[in-house]
């Protein structure tokens, strides 16, 4: 089983240094690209590989790049989205701390493909160690001639900057990220225009997830067919999966795209802790619908999880056990989303705190059946298209599925006028 993204990350957890990275073939893809391929050819190759974005939405990366106008003057930008603030998600951290040059090489190739001259790593505030590692890696890459003017002696120039954030989940939404990079409030922008056409400072911009970009060198070296062959299913490549919650061995693993949920939970995460029963799981971070034990054999790829009624999202799963209150669980999520709403559009700004208050009332024994109806209604009203960006619809996914799968728990809260679970 190949693990292109993580195989070279030292087990000690220390970052792979430039020399070490080069020793295992690092930057050979960049060399090859600059020598042999035109920017268009790079994009075509990524398209061939059918690489789908790992930031949550699963949009074709090659396709995204191909929307960047190539015959324009003025700057273009490439941004690695290293904000990773979706609760339950910790996959990019692994790549950032373990193999920074792999990301940089991917970024340089991506920048070449769209002919950007400036790149940013937008990293969340909390990743202090990753920030240090990335700072060092960028400096080393400059020294080695992978960044700056005339990269590897070719007529290609790229500057790279690390930007660390100051909080707010919204910064991960790509257009809000752009506003934040411009020094503004991280509110999202309307699409169209898409960032590919009018992004950072109104210039063509590509935003890709860290994991997405880290694949690029490998795809350049080994080609699309190889990439597709890594996977068990039609969605190419490997995927970093993670599991947290009350399992025996929480963690993250790079596995072929399409492993089953059962394999992940039982083999890799070691099953539930003693005495606990599995009740459900958010398969791809906080903004995905619950799946339950009926779905254990779902193949964890974009199509598979979607068919089961949820989203692959970030591929990092949060497990709900039978001694954790699902209402409390969802309350925690909605509290997060309500706090992190940017406050720009009405349904999200006002609707999320309302759901949060209802869930808290339920937990405190003050909930009513009318409240349950109100929750249900909100899951419809805050759906995609109704709000300005995807935050609120994402927030409704766990709620709507909780109402579906754990209905009896909600009702018991109303009936008993208290939370039936032992409090944490």
């Amino acid at each position: 089983m190949e693990r292109p993204l993580t195989q070279h990350i030292p087990l000690s957890g220390a970052a792979l240094q430039l020399k070490e990275y080069e020793a295992v073939g690092g930057y050979s893809a960049l060399r090859k690209v600059l020598q042999e391929l035109t920017p268009r050819e790079v994009t075509e190759k990524v398209k061939d590989a059918n690489l789908k974005g790992r930031g949550g939405a699963g949009f074709s990366t090659g396709m995204k790049w191909s929307f960047v106008p190539m015959n324009v003057t003025g700057p273009k930008y490439l941004i690695a989205n290293a904000d990773e603030m979706e609760p339950g998600t910790f996959k990019d951290r692994w790549l950032l701390e373990g193999n920074p040059h792999q990301l940089l090489e991917g970024m340089i190739i991506a920048a070449y493909a769209i002919q950007a001259t400036q790149a940013f790593v937008f990293m969340r505030w909390a990743y202090k160690e990753a920030a240090q590692i990335m700072t060092r890696a960028i400096a080393d890459a400059y020294d080695a001639g992978y960044l700056g003017k005339n990269i590897l002696g070719k007529d290609f120039r790229l500057d790279m900057q690390l930007h660390t954030g100051v909080g707010r989940y919204m910064c991960g939404e790509e257009t809000a990220l752009l506003n934040s990079l411009e020094g503004k409030r991280a509110t999202p922008r309307a699409k169209p225009p898409f960032p590919q056409v009018s992004g950072l400072f109104g210039k063509p911009t590509i935003v890709n997830n860290v994991e997405t970009l880290s694949y690029i060198p490998h795809i350049m070296n080994n080609g699309g067919d190889w990439f597709k062959s890594l996977s068990y299913t039609a969605d190419g490549g490997t995927k970093i999966y993670g599991v947290s919650g009350k399992v025996n061995k929480p963690g993250a693993w790079e596995l072929p795209m399409g492993v089953t949920m059962r394999e992940l939970l039982e083999e890799y995460a070691g099953g539930m802790k003693a005495g606990l029963r599995f009740r459900g799981v958010l398969p791809g971070g906080a903004s995905t619908d619950f799946l339950t034990d009926a779905h254990l054999d779902v193949k964890m790829d974009f199509a598979g999880v979607a068919a089961a009624g949820s989203r692959l999202g970030t591929g990092t799963m949060v497990v709900l056990d039978d001694q954790t209150c699902p209402v409390g669980f969802v309350h925690n999520l909605e509290h997060f989303f309500a706090q992190e709403s940017c406050g720009f559009c009405t349904p999200c700004r006002e609707g999320l705190p309302w759901t949060e208050k209802i869930l808290l009332a339920l937990e405190q024994g003050n909930g009513t059946y009318a409240d349950l109806e109100q929750l249900q209604l909100h899951t419809q009203l805050l759906g995609p298209g109704n709000t300005f960006c995807a935050l609120a619809p994402g927030a409704m996914e766990p709620l709507q599925s909780a109402l579906k799968y754990f209905r009896e728990d909600f009702e018991q809260h109303v009936k008993d006028k208290k939370c039936p679970y032992a409090h944490h």
Binding site: A190, S198, G202, P347, E350, W354
Partner: protein, 897 residues
């Protein structure tokens, strides 16, 4: 034109609009908050949701925000769709979660867009049962009240204040459901257009504080279409009255003039109408007329009108009617323009340039559409505030057009366009005596003495047309500036040249005309905008009369017994010394005015004149647009229009022409037949006989309440309502309920639309002209065929002189205008008198900031505290104009210190 299908009906709509605009333009009701016709769409409130369908077979459809979706041929949509309706209703539900539900005590109540939209969506039952979040309110100065708990977070306030008007001190703070709109700390909102927040805000967060101080429900106001008296631009206003006091001024939409907005002087400067300085009764020798031996007041006037020795002094702040009647009464030989020499020279020159030259005067909306702007010698924000707002829009024009090309979006896609535009600005060049507020958006701003400004203007025009002589002795920097400006102007399609009274220099005006005319000769559609000091400066100048100084001369030669002074304080026109000499050399002063002033002290007879609120009349603005203002209410005192007083005097005198005139229409007709330059003013508004369905147009909405009870504390039987014999308006709520002609709309109201946003319903399309066109009529048009020779007398450069300073005028939006300072809030924002000095000059005269500097002008002593300002050229000193207590100084003028 594209066809769209709305709820299974086809409609032809305009290309380039969004669906919300299309629906509203069709007269359909669709609720909205964050969208505004001039601010565009950002999709924040989610109130305007509709469903769109892929095709006729698609029954499911999807919800979209109509304000964010461009019109597309064959698009199918539904307003009435169940899901869309339910969503819209819930949007109101969310907006009301934390709203205090305090309509009963809210100033906006009954004229509130949020109330209207709530009713429109059918939201009536509150599901939310948790506690409300509350905010602290801020002190925002004398103009606006702040009640943040009523906020629905539509972001309109910041988008207007910051993005549109260039304000700096209002913003949005915090995030999620804590977002807060206000200042960083309590304090006065600084922007000159802050008052528009009261209309921009769809609920009661920002409300008019002056209204609050004498509050009346908006539906209880008696209102009329009027024209702002604050400056020479003639913005259209609605004035509302109750119990004999004007209570608020709001915008009256005019697509060619002020659009949706007003400046703060215009909006708040009305309180002189209610001032306790008002003259309410006729007076003789400072006493009430009745005590004057029982002689009727008109006889007092008549007796003093010695034939051949009676003159009339007109006024630029009085109506055309009053001035024309006075001129007729005293005879053209005896009619003097009541303006200072400088103002007369500048305004009459402006008028000449606009009439004789080939270049048209720009309306405010033309100005906003200019692609290159050159300002010569003018601090527009302070001399013609709304023109500054137009310039701000003009500066956006080129970059927005470029961005639209780049991102293929309509201009209403506000956020996206702003993002693509970034800080790009179209070319604006400013030459002024000191820094101005618009400098921050200018591509180039230079500060120098008026003559030097004119020299640059001449140099620019020379570069455009070498029939104009080269300016000799120009510095290299001056040459560079001129070249930059000329080269940019040459690339323009609709360049605008602004100059006016603020620069105090005829040479500047001539150089401005030269530039515009030279551009015209190059085949470029150039425009001119000349600012003028007062609301009827141009009208008075068009009427024509002798200079005020010649009245002084005549008085000194014993040529005058009696002066009839129309709405004027001569102490603001002549320096104190001259004014004193004038008054001491005539026997009788008959004053028609509405406020006590220094001239009233000299009056032998005073006739209480109506302010704009008590009068009908016509004004001509700086572009030559004649506009009618209507009486708002019938005063209970002896106050009446000056022209009516004068007609009554004429009747007593047996004046042949005037005796036959009685009503407004008579005077208007008289003017149109007597003066060819006023041809056309009879069609400004329908005449007094006009009726709609046999009815007059009511000044009061049919919701007007309490009429029978209003004066019940004095007399239980309701007095007979006043009758308006001059116009087709009635003073009550009785009358035609539909839409009146646009020139006489007293208030905007339509079923379901009680707020100012009802204006949508009166427009041909959202943001477009009113149904029967824009009110007003331009009386001067350029002489496109003739060719006026260019001006060639380039002034000498101004260089600092030893022991001397060149005094130049500084104007203030709050303070320089005579009447508006009677509003306490405006008075509070008025600067104290000062002398502006360059630091080198301060050194030269051994003073520092705050020190008093002494000088003399025309025998008058000035002692003024120094303010250092290094944006002045050395050797130039600025003094504020028009502040109370400031003597009039003839500026620009060289003084010895």
């Amino acid at each position: 034109m594209p066809i769209i299908n709305i709820d299974n009906k086809n409609y032809e709509v305009k290309e380039g609009k969004n669906l919300l605009e299309a629906c509203l333009s069709l007269g359909l009701n669709l609720p909205y908050f964050c969208w505004h016709p001039v601010l565009g769409a950002v999709g924040a409130c989610r109130q305007c949701a509709v469903k769109v369908f892929k095709d006729a077979d698609d029954t499911k459809g999807r919800i979209i925000m109509s304000c964010m979706e461009p019109v597309k041929d064959q698009l199918r949509m539904s307003i009435d769709d169940k899901d869309a309706r339910s969503f819209r209703e819930h949007v109101i539900g969310w907006l009301m979660i934390n709203h205090p539900h305090d309509c009963a005590v809210c100033d906006e109540g009954g004229a509130c867009h949020l109330q209207d939209m709530t009713v429109m969506t059918g939201h009536s039952y509150r599901d939310y049962h948790f506690t409300k979040r509350t905010y602290n309110n801020q002190y925002l100065g004398p103009f606006l009240n702040h009640e943040m708990n009523r906020c629905i977070q539509c972001y309109r306030c910041v988008r207007f204040y910051k993005d549109f008007a260039g304000g700096k001190d209002l913003d949005v703070f915090a995030a999620h459901n804590h977002v807060y709109f206000g200042r960083q700390q309590d304090g006065i909102l600084e922007n000159e257009f802050s008052g528009n927040l009261a209309e921009i805000c769809p609920t009661g967060v920002f409300t008019d504080k002056t209204l609050k101080q004498h509050y009346t429900r908006k539906w209880d106001l008696t209102s009329a279409a009027s024209v702002c008296q604050g400056c020479g631009l003639g913005c259209n206003i609605l004035a509302g009255e109750r119990y004999g006091a004007v209570r608020q001024i709001t915008n009256r939409f005019n697509a060619a003039v002020n659009g949706y907005f007003l400046c703060d002087r215009g909006r708040y400067g009305y309180e002189f109408v209610n001032s306790d300085q008002r003259i309410k009764t006729p007076m003789v020798y400072h006493g009430p007329a009745e005590q004057s031996n029982g002689i009727p007041i008109l006889d007092h006037v008549h007796r003093r009108m010695v034939p051949g020795k009676t003159i009339g002094i007109g006024s630029p702040r009085a109506s055309l009617e009053s001035n024309a009647v006075l001129k007729e009464l005293v005879g053209a030989d005896n009619f003097y323009l009541g303006v200072s020499a400088a103002d007369h020279d500048l305004v009459s020159l402006s008028l000449r340039l606009l009439r004789q030259g080939p270049v048209r005067a720009a309306s405010l909306q033309d100005a906003a559409a200019a692609d290159v702007v050159l300002i010569l010698g003018e601090d527009v924000t302070n001399t013609a505030p709304m023109l500054a707002l137009s310039v701000r829009q003009a500066v956006r024009r080129m970059p927005v057009a470029a961005a639209q090309q780049q991102v293929h979006l309509a201009a209403w896609q506000d956020a996206a366009i702003r993002e693509a535009v970034q800080d790009d600005k179209g070319p604006l060049f400013i030459l002024s005596v000191q820094e101005t507020k618009l400098d921050e958006i200018a591509q180039g701003a230079w500060h120098t003495a008026p003559d030097n400004i004119a020299r640059i203007g001449y140099a620019v025009s020379h570069l455009l047309n070498d029939a104009i002589p080269e300016v000799t002795g120009m510095s290299e920097q001056g040459r560079d500036i001129a070249a930059t400006i000329a080269n940019t102007l040459k690339t323009a399609a609709h360049p605008l040249i602004i100059a006016g009274y603020g620069g105090g220099s005829e040479a500047i005006l001539k150089s401005a005309a030269n530039v515009a005319w030279a551009l015209h000769d190059l085949g470029i559609d150039a425009m001119l905008s000349f600012t003028v000091p007062e609301c009827n400066s141009v009208g008075l100048e068009m009427l024509d009369g002798h200079r005020l100084e010649s009245a002084l001369g005549r008085a000194l030669n014993n040529g005058i017994d009696t002066a009839i002074i129309l709405e004027n304080d001569l102490y603001r026109r002549l320096n104190q010394h001259s004014a004193e000499r004038f008054f001491s050399n005539i026997k009788n002063v008959i004053l028609l005015d509405h406020l006590y002033n220094a001239t009233a002290e000299k009056a032998t007879v005073i006739l209480p004149a109506g302010t704009f609120a008590e009068s009908d009349g016509t004004l001509v603005n700086n572009e030559g647009r004649a506009q009618r203002f209507f009486q708002v209410f019938a005063p209970t005192s002896a106050v009446q229009e000056s022209w009516r007083w004068l007609l009554q005097v004429a009747a007593v005198c047996g004046h042949t022409t005037l005796s036959s005139l009685q009503h407004l229409d008579d005077v208007v007709k008289y003017m149109a037949t007597t003066y060819p330059q006023f041809d056309g003013i009879t069609t400004l508004t329908p005449d007094a006989h006009f009726r709609l369905a046999g009815q007059k147009v009511p000044r009061e909405p049919h919701r007007y309440s309490g009429r029978t009870a209003m004066l019940a504390n004095k007399n239980v039987s309701e007095p007979k309502p006043a009758e308006d014999e001059d116009t087709a308006l009635s003073f009550t709520m009785e009358g035609y309920r539909g839409e009146p002609p646009s020139s006489m709309i007293p208030f905007f109201w339509q079923p379901g639309w009680n707020s100012v946003q009802a204006v949508n319903k009166y427009q041909v399309e959202t943001g477009g002209p009113l149904h029967d066109g824009n009110a007003g009529k331009r009386l001067i048009e350029p002489n496109v065929n003739g060719h006026t020779p260019f001006y060639t007398e380039v002034p000498e450069p101004y260089l600092p002189l030893k022991e001397h300073l060149l005094l130049v005028p500084c104007y203030h939006i709050f303070g320089s205008e005579e009447l508006s300072i009677h509003t306490p809030g405006i008075a509070a924002r008025m600067p104290a008198p000062y002398l502006l000095l360059h630091s080198e000059d301060a050194k030269r005269f051994q003073v520092t900031e705050g020190h008093l500097l002494h000088f003399m002008d025309n025998g008058h002593h000035y002692t003024l505290p120094v303010i250092i300002n290094d944006t002045l050229q050395q050797g130039v000193a600025g003094i504020p104009v028009g502040l109370p207590g400031m003597q009039i100084a003839e500026v620009p003028q060289l003084i010895k210190v």
